[in-house]
């Protein structure tokens, strides 16, 4: 270990609600299958980009599972509460008997409850202030998913909601790791949620040139690292991980799915939306994550790439991987299957990276035959690849210039 090394924390629980399915097992099955999940979306009908990747559960069904408190929760909070319950159960913990004072919740979102915000704005416009709901702000505050998870689980330690756009989920895990390392909590429920597939989101990202326009074949639209990629696909979902100090997990005999060994968080300080051409900030995040883990670049077996399927973003990331990890670790990008879950993506992908380490399986990139000419990457395509992955990186980058790289290692 180098002088920079930081003690790893254990990942003891996972919870996922994604376009590939309801729960961790369904998502893992769907991601291994490697088929895009995007389809035409009635909410986006008539817009230039009218498709998205949706979690296959209605808000009504999510509310039914949550129970009486659901009426005041936006869809993003509902996804978060259910993913957090799954993660805590998976960790073998019981929220009724734990010491809630020592449990942190670090759970953010990228956009927030935009569908609910747009609905209330329409009520104000069309029917006046009498018809604006008193729960408008409980619905739309960006911290409310973390607040509702805290209430649901009786978690009374530090509770907060990081916001680093499409790196939010990874930032949440990095912050949670720090809270554990500094002794601020004993258990951290960490991740992110997003449910912001709205007409405004589609129109706005379309105007920015960020979305795929493959309206004739939505399921084929998200194609990270492909030569003919043309943008990302709006998606929703939630991913939650339960983290504990490794010694605490061992002491209670918990099953450890993987270790979070290093976190690198940097910013480009360059441009609101364009990645820095030299990717120096992303490289620094990668090197910091490895240094904290006490690992060298050549020890990386696998990269779960940010891979959004945008022309510029994927090119920058491909060049970064080829330059810093020239030994060609396997590369996957879950957004081919799941679309871009915005703030939630980093947490969902960290969970998938944990599953890759645990099951020694790298899922394929959907809609990819071979990486674009000029990308010197070992992309996994067509079918899952069995690989003895011991060290894996999960990349997340966000508007604002945020770069977060997580180093995960086999337990």
């Amino acid at each position: 270990m180098t002088a920079d090394a930081t003690p790893p924390v254990a990942v003891t629980g996972l919870g996922l609600l994604t376009p590939a399915g309801d729960g961790v097992d369904a998502t893992w099955d769907g991601v291994r299958r490697g088929l895009g999940t995007a389809s035409h979306d009635p909410v986006l009908a008539g817009l230039p980009v009218d498709f998205s990747c949706r979690v296959p559960l209605s808000s009504e069904e999510l509310g039914r599972r949550i129970g009486r408190a659901a009426w005041r929760m936006a869809r993003n909070a509902r996804l978060a509460v259910l993913a957090a319950r799954e993660a805590v159960l998976d960790a073998g913990l019981d929220a009724r008997s734990w010491d809630g004072d020592r449990v942190a919740v670090v759970l953010g979102c990228g956009l927030g409850a935009d569908a609910e915000r747009e609905e209330q704005a329409a009520r104000l416009r069309e029917s006046g202030p009498d018809m604006v709901s008193a729960v408008t702000f409980p619905l739309v505050l960006p911290n409310m998913a973390s607040g509702e998870v805290s209430i649901d689980l009786g978690a009374r330690g530090p509770v907060l909601a990081p916001a680093t756009a499409c790196a939010t989920g990874a930032s949440a895990l990095a912050v949670a790791r720090d809270l554990l390392a500094s002794g601020r909590c004993d258990i951290a429920v960490a991740g992110a949620t997003e449910a912001a597939v709205t007409p405004l989101a589609s129109a706005g990202f379309w105007q920015a040139g960020a979305l795929s326009r493959r309206t004739g074949a939505p399921a084929e639209a998200s194609r990270p690292f492909a030569a003919d990629r043309d943008g990302f696909v709006l998606a929703e979902g939630a991913g939650v991980l339960v983290l504990e100090r490794a010694e605490d997990a061992a002491a209670r005999g918990a099953r450890v799915r993987a270790l979070l060994a290093g976190c690198g968080s940097t910013a480009d300080a360059h441009h609101p939306t364009a990645p820095e051409p030299g990717a120096r900030g992303a490289e620094a995040a990668l090197r910091t994550a490895l240094a904290e883990a006490g690992l060298a670049p050549h020890e990386v077996d696998h990269v779960n790439a940010h891979g959004t399927s945008t022309p510029l973003g994927d090119a920058g990331e491909a060049a970064l991987i080829a330059r810093v990890l020239p030994h060609r670790p396997s590369v996957t990008a879950a957004k081919g299957v799941l679309g871009h879950g915005l703030g939630a993506a980093g947490a969902i992908e960290a969970a998938l990276t944990v599953l890759t380490l645990q099951h020694r399986t790298v899922p394929p990139i959907a809609n990819l035959d071979a990486p674009a000419p000029g990308f010197d990457l070992d992309c996994v395509t067509k079918e899952p690849r069995g690989q003895d992955v011991r060290v894996a990186l999960s990349h997340s980058f966000g508007f604002g210039g945020h770069n977060v790289v997580l180093a995960l290692v086999r337990a």
Binding site: G63, R64, G67, R68, A70, W71, R72, S127, D130, M131, S133, A134, V135, P138
Partner: protein, 86 residues
């Protein structure tokens, strides 16, 4: 009154997920776990369903379901004033 009581019942079960078996005419809104935020939302949903706006004192934590339904009926709820059907 029976019509307005049925509307109150359906809002409580559908919007607030109060179990059907807890709903009795003599129960108060507070006994059904509706807090001040929920009471404000209840007022809005009833306004949408029935076209009448009730003042806060007629939908407090101490208000029984019977009293609420009776008050709604006295306002002529369910007439032609409904602003939305949802």
């Amino acid at each position: 009154m029976p019509d307005t009581y049925d509307t109150v019942r359906s809002v409580l079960t559908q919007t607030f997920r109060v179990p059907e078996e807890e709903i009795e005419p003599g129960r108060t809104l507070g006994q059904l776990d509706l807090d001040s935020l929920a009471l404000a939302e209840l007022t809005l949903v009833l306004h949408e369903r029935l076209g009448v706006r009730i003042e806060g004192e007629y939908a407090s934590r101490e208000t029984t379901l019977t009293a609420l339904a009776t008050h709604l009926a006295s306002l002529g709820a369910g007439g032609t004033g409904a602003v939305a059907s949802s």
